[in-house]
Amino acid sequence: MLFAGIHASRRNRANGPSKGQLMGNLAPDFELPGLDGKKLKLSDLRGKAVLLNFWATYCEPCKVEMPWFVELQKQYGPDGFQIVGVAMDDASTEDIAKFAKDMGVNYPILIGEDSVVTSYGGVGVLPTTFFLDRDGKLIAREFGLQSRSVFVDHIKKALSQGQAVQARK
């Protein structure tokens, strides 16, 4: 109920600048280092539905979503779903790693860069979450904390879209 209220108010905020330029197009590609220093390239995940979550250690609403993401990764991972977190704060990599470990995060966390944020139209609100279909196209974006059901809806949609899905049929 509580989050339904938040959800309703946030839905009204979802039409941010440059949404039209991003949605339906290929997600801007990037390569960022993870907590272990190994780089991950977004386009290497092509064929999977991706939830791209920009967050920060100082962001309390982001903390609320993380346990859901852990569950959703377990639930939909076998179907070809991948969550990628991008940490957007000044904290050290060690602190971010400690935070992620405390939260039991089971998906890759990357260290964000301003250039990546800019390519996504700027992320002035945390959390901001993008959903990519299996072809790497952006199909949805959400600002701020959402209800779990919103994520599930977008994940199902992302899993069902893309040429990779059509080829299987």
């Binding site: 905020r13 039409n15 920060a56 100082y58 309390e60 609403p61 002035g124 945390l126």
Partner: protein
């Protein structure tokens, strides 16, 4: 001191209220979530410390962490005033945060500032400082959130004037007189 505070509040009502229309928008606040009221000019005697009260207002719908947040990961509100060669900046006193719960974590209490809050800065001019008006500058670092999202940390530039007055010169003491001296 009471007169100074009253003046600051009055100025806040007249100026800051009109400016603080920054409701949460699609990509975050359209302006700073925190603004400073025009600070009263505090007169300080050379060589003597004095407290300068600085009044801030957090825009409606937002909160910022107090100076002592409850988690190591939260970014505290910190005021930094640049010291000059002749004016020493002493202790900065922050108010206690309000313990508040928010919709995103109703079972958790955060130590925050919302609405109006005041930070006191101790200023001590050296005895050698020339009398006159001086502009002090600094920044208030804060990180704001609303009920369902957070915004990157910001540095709000701040400034206030202090008027340095000359210390009273030690006058010649009257020699002790006997009550019967004029008899």
């Amino acid at each position: 001191m009471r007169v100074l505070l009253a003046t600051a509040l009055l100025l806040f009502s007249a100026c800051a209220c009109a400016q603080l229309q920054d409701q949460p928008g699609p990509a975050g606040p359209t302006g700073p979530a925190v603004k400073m009221a025009p600070a009263p000019v505090v007169t300080i005697v050379q060589g003597q410390p004095a407290t300068v009260p600085l009044s801030f207002r957090v825009a409606s719908g937002y909160h910022i962490n107090s100076n002592k947040p409850k988690s190591e990961f939260l970014i505290p509100t910190v005021l930094r005033v640049e010291a000059t060669t002749d004016i020493v900046i002493g202790k900065t006193t922050y108010p206690d945060g309000q313990d508040m719960s928010f919709a995103f974590a109703p079972d958790e209490k955060l130590s925050v500032y919302s609405g109006d809050f005041q930070v006191d800065v101790l200023v001590r001019p050296l005895k050698s400082v020339e009398k006159g008006k001086y502009i002090m500058r600094g920044t208030l670092k804060y990180q704001a959130c609303d009920n369902s999202a957070c915004y990157p940390p910001k540095q709000l530039p701040i400034s206030f004037d202090v008027k340095i007055a000359k210390a009273a010169t030690a006058g010649r003491k009257n020699p002790a007189q006997s009550p019967h001296a004029h008899q």
